[in-house]
């Protein structure tokens, strides 16, 4: 049976939702072990077990939480030859992808990044990767052992298998020279609103809003619907709204019940992060905008004229 590793991401002693998604898939592929490094690793072990990890390899050295990438790379690079996993799954997230990249280079192997699925085939592993906003899907075969695959968040629905994990202590093996990119301080800027990736309704705005002064229409509609506001990369890059709102390849992946895209053309960067939404509504002045070709309802018109009326209509309905 193949040995599958899931690199667990922890947040305050709990595994992140993407970690649980990866475990859910991993248990269909073989014998699952989670590697949990840093403070809170032991505390996270039962949840990892419930989602399919038979064993959790644990080390709580604080250096894993204090320094970027290097300590975790050292630890994994020492564990891999000894334990010989066949496949290591990482979340395609900021923290995990850095560890995965360094690890692959150190092990002189490759990896498959930005995947939306991984499966066993022909005695090895293949993974599917979206291209051009998900219009195309490439299937890659991993040629190296261990195969390393980075999976996009929300690619699977996490479910519990009810198992209990054996906790195995492992050595940290952190090189002295690896304590170098130090996290000096962590600052929170997030607003006290519905979390974008958990929202049942997402209203996103793009360049078609004309300027940052009009983004409040998007926020107001999201608030009126009890949802969250999102944004295209274009307006995040332009500095209209913070990165935390970005939906897409570089930002968040969302799968809400309803996604309303206002003034967003539908570049690949964006659509890959929202195409899993149940219902998509797009408002765009340009009748040729790609987003209209994937929307359940496309409205050709000016978002700045439609949004205020829509906010009124929603408020009137909710008030009645």
């Amino acid at each position: 049976m193949a040995k599958i590793w899931v690199y667990a991401e922890l947040s305050g002693g709990r595994p992140t939702s993407t970690t649980l998604e990866l475990l859910t898939r991993a248990r269909e592929l073989g014998d699952v072990e989670a590697v949990a490094l840093g403070p809170g690793a032991r505390q996270a072990a039962p949840a990892l077990g419930r989602h399919g990890a038979a064993r959790v390899l644990v080390n709580e050295d604080p250096a894993f939480g204090e320094y970027l990438a290097d300590p975790a790379t050292d630890c994994l690079a020492a564990l891999v030859p000894a334990q010989a996993p066949d496949l290591i799954l990482f979340a395609f997230s900021a923290d995990s992808r850095e560890v995965a990249g360094r690890l692959a280079a150190r092990l002189c192997t490759g990896l498959i990044s930005n995947a939306m699925d991984v499966s066993a085939a022909g005695g090895g592993f293949v993974a599917t990767v979206p291209y051009f906003g998900g219009a195309k899907v490439a299937t890659y075969r991993a040629n190296s052992r261990p195969a390393i695959v980075l999976i996009r968040p929300k690619s699977y629905e996490a479910s519990v298998s009810g198992g209990e994990a054996e906790v195995v202590d492992v050595d940290a093996v952190i090189g002295e020279g690896s304590k170098r990119a130090r996290i000096v301080e962590t600052r929170t800027e997030a607003a006290d609103r519905v979390k974008l990736e958990d929202a049942r309704i997402v209203v996103s705005g793009g360049r078609g809003l004309g300027g940052p002064e009009n983004f409040h229409f998007v926020q107001e509609l999201a608030d009126a619907l009890g949802g969250a506001a999102g944004a295209s990369r274009a307006i995040v890059d332009a500095g209209w709204v913070p990165y935390a709102l970005q939906v897409g390849q570089t930002g968040k992946t969302v799968r809400p019940g309803v996604y309303i895209a206002a003034g967003i053309s539908g570049a690949m960067q964006h659509t890959v992060g929202m195409k899993g939404s149940k219902v998509i509504v797009a408002i765009n002045k340009d009748a040729d905008a790609p987003i209209l070709k994937m929307a359940d309802l496309g409205v050709v018109g000016d978002a700045l004229k439609i949004l205020p009326r829509l906010i009124e209509a929603v408020k009137a309905r909710k008030g009645s």
């Binding site: 970027l68 990438a69 290097d70 900021a94 992808r97 850095e98 995965a100 990249g101 360094r102 692959a104 280079a105 150190r106 490759g110 990896l111 498959i112 293949v126 291209y131 219009a135 195309k136 490439a138 299937t139 890659y140 991993a142 040629n143 190296s144 170098r180 990119a181 130090r182 996290i183 000096v184 962590t186 600052r187 800027e189 997030a190 309704i201 619907l225 009890g226 890059d237 990165y243 935390a244 390849q249 570089t250 968040k252 309803v258 960067q269 149940k278 219902v279 509504v281 408002i283 929307a295 359940d296 309802l297 496309g298 409205v299 050709v300 018109g301 000016d302 004229k305 009326r309 829509l310």
Partner: protein, 253 residues
């Protein structure tokens, strides 16, 4: 301070994209310097202006990629290196990182600046691999970069805000696209760029073994496309009516 900025020529993000018959991204159309790299160059130039030194652009790509380097030189970078070799066509992230590392290593830069990920491939894997191969720390997703007393400090963007991360130089920084507005090349800059050196390098000169690709493409298929639904032209009321109907059907009202 010596700064290396990695740059890539990519298909114009604003133009439709396609694949060549060999399943690599078609580059026969409009190509531009990756917009993310323009931000990297801008940060490199700002650091040079503050601390003195040199900004060297390193790229890998077909001979045509010289145009991308030339654009960065006209913004103000000092010289360029172009790794160009048919043996590298379709290189995966690991081979790309090895080629870049082999070209950058002899330069012994204090700081390497990369974009977080390219506009076309978007795998984001070259920077961490490059940092590993150069044996330097990586400070990633920077929306702010400062250097003082041999230490680089970045504000690393996170889901909830940012982290302040620091490391002693040498190091590798990846910058987000929002970090700075890239400057426009002045006419003087464009003229000056013509006489700046762009050194070509081949696989043989770099002394790297090509090796077996770490992953192979088994196939490319059209994804299950979402079907286009109804498209209506707004006339001042039908747009809102239709959207309200959708919201009601989805039981979110």
């Amino acid at each position: 301070m010596k700064i290396v900025v990695t740059v890539k020529q990519v298909p114009d993000p604003n133009a439709p994209q396609a694949l060549d018959p060999d399943n690599t991204i078609a580059r026969d159309r409009e190509v531009v310097l990756d917009p993310g790299d323009e931000c990297g160059i801008e940060i490199g130039l700002q650091l040079k202006e503050a601390h003195g030194g040199e900004v060297v652009l390193v790229s890998m790509g077909p001979e045509k990629a010289r145009d991308a380097i030339r654009k960065g030189l006209s913004m103000g970078a000092d010289r360029g290196i172009l790794i160009s070799d048919p043996a590298l066509a379709g290189a995966d992230a690991y081979l790309t990182a090895r080629a870049l590392a082999a070209a950058i290593s002899p330069e012994s830069p204090d700081l390497v600046i990369c974009a977080t990920e390219s506009y076309d491939g978007s795998t984001g894997m070259v920077p961490p691999m490059l940092a590993e191969l150069l044996q330097v720390p990586q400070l990633t997703f920077a929306k702010h970069v400062a250097v003082a007393d041999g230490t680089v400090t970045v504000h690393r963007q996170t889901e909830a805000g940012y982290q302040v991360v620091e490391a002693a130089l040498p190091g590798l920084v990846t910058v987000t696209a929002g970090i700075a507005d890239p400057r426009y090349a002045s006419l003087k800059g464009i003229m000056a760029a013509r006489s700046k050196e762009v050194r070509p390098l081949t696989v043989a000169e770099l002394g790297i073994e090509q090796g077996r690709p770490t992953e192979t493409v088994e196939g490319i298929a059209d994804a299950e496309a979402r079907k286009a639904g109804e498209v209506v032209e707004d006339d001042g009321s039908v747009g809102v009516e239709k959207i309200m109907a959708v919201l009601q059907a989805a039981k979110v009202l």
